[in-house]
């Protein structure tokens, strides 16, 4: 399976909340700074888990606060 990329994470977050605009330059901003709330994050993480057959444990969720941190976790 191909690695998770910034563009794919952006697509997934766009799917769960199209009202929030995300750019590739936002990869180190927190999801909250970008404009996503806790429900958007939970929903996007579920989509990532399903598409990439990974488990994101509950205790990792607070740490995975940016696109790049999510990439680091999933691709490792």
């Amino acid at each position: 399976m191909s690695k998770l990329s910034v563009a794919v994470v952006i697509d997934i977050f766009h799917e769960v909340n199209p009202a929030v605009i995300v750019k590739e330059t936002d990869a180190d901003k927190t999801f909250k700074e970008i404009g996503f709330d806790s429900l958007d994050i939970v929903s996007a993480f579920l989509n990532i888990e399903e598409r990439y057959s990974v488990q994101i444990p509950d205790d990792e969720v607070p740490r995975l606060s940016t696109i790049n941190k999510v990439l680091g976790f999933v691709n490792s």
Partner: protein, 316 residues
Amino acid sequence: MLQQVGIRAIGAYIPATFLSNYARKEEFDITDDFIENKIGVRQVARKAADESTSNMCVKAFADLAEKVACRVEQIDCIVVCTQNPDGHGIPHTSANVHAQLGLGDDCAAFDISLGCSGYVYGLSIVKSFMEANGLKNGLLFTADPYSKVIDPADKDTVLLFGDAATVTLLSSVDAGETVWKPAKFLFASRGKQGDALHNKNGVLTMNGRAIFNFAAVAVPVQVRSLLEAVGVAAEEVDLFLFHQGSKYIVDTIQKRLGIPADKVPAYLSEQGNAVSSSLPLLLNRHLNDAAVNRMVLSGFGVGLSWASCMLEREKR
């Protein structure tokens, strides 16, 4: 002809006291968008401190009695679905309802301990109990006032759950009558994830992410299985009624099933997630809609437990 039992009418009770979620925006760092478009709950209903679970059931019955002729001497069984019973649960809440309604000794009464899946389970239990024992009229109550166990400072639960009660009149159907008939049920449980929503030393605790993931994945699978089991296409279903856990979870299930949003009505913004009462509150709004002849009901939550059924308007 074998006896068949169907749904005749629903009575509802929503307490008149409400707590506004807008009043807690600053405290919980939430926005109008979060209130209206995510949880979808503007205010939560709260019972009076001295109002018992059985009191709420009796008020739902009063609403039912205004809609249909429903004399207490004609009731053969009553069932209360609750996990927040009167007192400490002994005697069972249905016994207290039995007493307050002045029902006779020949009326059966028992409780069901289930949360958000309880209405669907309850329909099957009461229908089966009545058909197996030749009973003509039964009442299925739902009343699970979570305000008894909610921590007022817990953002995850206090903004979401509201108190309410309902009662559904199920009756044996005579020839020529038209009623709503539960056509097919599916049930499921996942006890190993029970701690995702549980009462911990008297206080409700919820892992919102675990509940969301469970519902988003498991409910569409069960609904598809239900449609397949009865040989009905999603396009042939007039309405899909989902447990009103939050607007977000209902929207997510609707999108994952690929069904039109206008077939998935909502009813939680003014009272909140009423646990096992949420489905009958919603069903009550569509029971007499002449354009609706087939509905899917799906309840999911505490347990984890989930159950779905097909309801069809049928002339006997």
